[in-house]
């Protein structure tokens, strides 16, 4: 697989480390009254869809940026690549 890095262009997926579902950007609030239940879901439960999947790839063998890759798990086709930083900002998780 080739991942079209937003800054570096097409890179071999072997340079990256897969870090799971991009919903992990949304860490629960530790002060919430049901924080334990929220963290159990966050830590252990996954949608695991057959089809489009937004996922985190860490460019460990490159510029060490985190990406959000949208990929079809039934064909491995990658349709969108964004910097995780931009996604987190857009979704209100970072400044």
């Amino acid at each position: 697989m080739l991942i079209n890095h937003p800054l570096l262009g097409p890179r071999d997926a072997a340079e990256f480390t897969y870090m799971g579902d991009a919903s992990l950007i949304h860490r629960p609030d530790w002060q919430a009254s049901d924080a334990a239940a929220q963290f159990a879901d966050y830590g252990y439960l996954r949608d695991n869809p057959a089809g489009l999947h937004r996922e985190l790839w860490f460019h460990e063998g490159g510029d060490r940026s985190w990406l959000v890759v949208t990929r079809d798990t039934t064909t491995h086709e990658i349709t969108q690549v964004e910097l995780a930083r931009d996604v987190a900002r857009r979704e209100g998780r970072s400044t």
């Binding site: 879901d41 830590g43 252990y44 996922e55």
Partner: protein
């Protein structure tokens, strides 16, 4: 029809006209006591033990495609019980004991071959860990023996024991481990279950669950609604896709694992060797092909095919330890979809939905577990209680901090 040597001779002398189908092809009934979703090894074994050990009647196995067309026909056929942790080792040893009696019980030649499995050691720390694991195995009634480099060289003279990065410093052997003809396991259990009255319904895809008052009372299928007092999902690889229809999210990611077989060669490799440090393991099939594999690709996939970096990684590992492998040509390579769970161990449990049961999360170790998985799942379905060897395989172990994490990797499914 019982199979026997006399039967083979009789049929040979009479033109092989007496062989019948090994199982029926029934139409689905409107209702059953127990419906098992998934006609793989585990589902068929569950049906067999429900009928044979637990005396259950009116059982159906629903299979989307044809039986044995999933992971039971895609694995690398190894059986073993060399686990460390208390939650696992009694279960896998129970499974290995069932393998030992399987062919007589089923009257079916599954080619169970206890040719032994050897885990290679490269460092002092790894030797300590393997000695500990061997002792845990012996405490649980399994067999384990620590071998020296000389003993390994005597059995496997072609292994490269002097690799600069991973010199072979010994190994942990389980002589009762080995290989089994994987398709025959599915066929043997299917035939055994069918003879006890189980309906095996192929080309019957489950498209939804019938829910009444929060209780599961049947399944919607491509061949109509089938009611059932108990519905048992047994579809490792597709667990999330099926259980999503019941509104469940699982502690599972689906990953692709690749496997390889070389052209047929003369007998070369007498047992199973695993080179964990180099992500490579290998055995030789009775047809002569070297059957080998390594790590999962590492990203979510339902595609049943992987990518080339892992092919390269597996073959590099093979060449490092097993240099004459390079003279063999690769015949086939393929992929299968694994239920990678959050701690690397399976789940066999009831769900929060009444009447709905779950068996999955087998990671890439489901084949060796086939007999015990079926047996303990049948026990759960028939008695409502977990089997004594499977009490740890509960859904709630993650929330309660009771994970069964053999590799100590935490909640990263692609690292187990």
């Amino acid at each position: 029809m019982r199979y026997s040597g006399f039967r083979v001779i009789k049929e040979a002398l009479t033109g092989h006209r007496g062989w019948g189908p090994a199982w029926r092809d029934p139409e689905p009934q409107p209702a059953y006591d127990i419906v098992i979703i998934g006609g793989g090894g585990h589902g068929l074994a569950t049906a067999y033990y429900l009928a044979s050990v637990y005396g259950q009647k009116r059982i159906a196995v629903l299979e989307k495609g044809w039986i044995g067309g999933g992971n039971v026909g895609r694995n690398t056929t190894i059986i073993r019980s060399n686990y460390l942790l208390d939650g696992n080792e009694p279960f896998y040893e129970f499974s290995l004991k069932l393998w030992e009696g399987l062919e007589q019980e089923l009257n079916y030649n599954a080619m169970v071959s206890q040719r032994g499995i050897l885990n290679l050691i490269h460092t002092d720390a790894q030797r300590d860990a393997f000695i500990r694991r061997g002792n845990a195995m012996i405490l649980n009634g399994a067999d384990a023996e620590l071998l020296s480099t000389e003993q390994i060289k005597a059995r496997y003279p072609f292994l490269n024991t002097e690799n600069a990065r991973f010199p072979i410093k010994g190994g942990l052997a389980q002589h009762r481990g080995g290989t089994v003809r994987h398709d025959a396991v599915a066929w043997g259990y299917a035939r055994g279950a069918d003879r006890l009255g189980v309906d095996i319904i192929q080309n019957c895809e489950v498209t939804g669950f019938v829910m009444e008052g929060g209780t599961c009372t049947g399944v919607e299928t491509s061949r109509g609604t089938i009611k059932a007092a108990k519905v048992a999902s047994c579809v490792a690889g597709s667990s999330s896709r099926v259980m999503e229809k019941a509104g469940m999210r699982l502690p599972i990611e689906s990953h692709v694992l690749q496997a390889f077989v070389s052209e047929g060669l003369k007998p070369l490799l007498p047992g199973v060797i695993t080179f964990g440090a180099g992500h490579f393991y290998c055995s030789q099939s009775d047809k002569g092909g070297l059957v080998f594999g390594g790590d999962i690709d590492g990203y979510n996939s339902y595609a049943q095919r992987g990518n080339l970096p892992v092919v390269e990684d597996v073959c590099e590992g093979g060449m490092a330890i097993f240099p004459n492998l390079g003279r063999a040509r690769l015949l086939r390579m393929w992929g299968g979809i694994m239920d990678m769970s959050m701690d690397g161990s399976p789940i066999i449990d009831r769900t929060h939905v009444g009447g709905l049961y779950f068996n999955g999360g087998w990671c890439y170790g489901g084949f060796k577990a086939t007999p015990a998985s079926g047996y303990v799942y049948a026990h759960l379905l028939a008695t409502g209680q977990p089997h004594p060897t499977a009490t740890a395989y509960r859904f709630d172990r993650f929330n309660r901090g009771l994970m069964i994490d053999e590799k100590g990797m935490g909640n990263q499914p692609n690292l187990h």
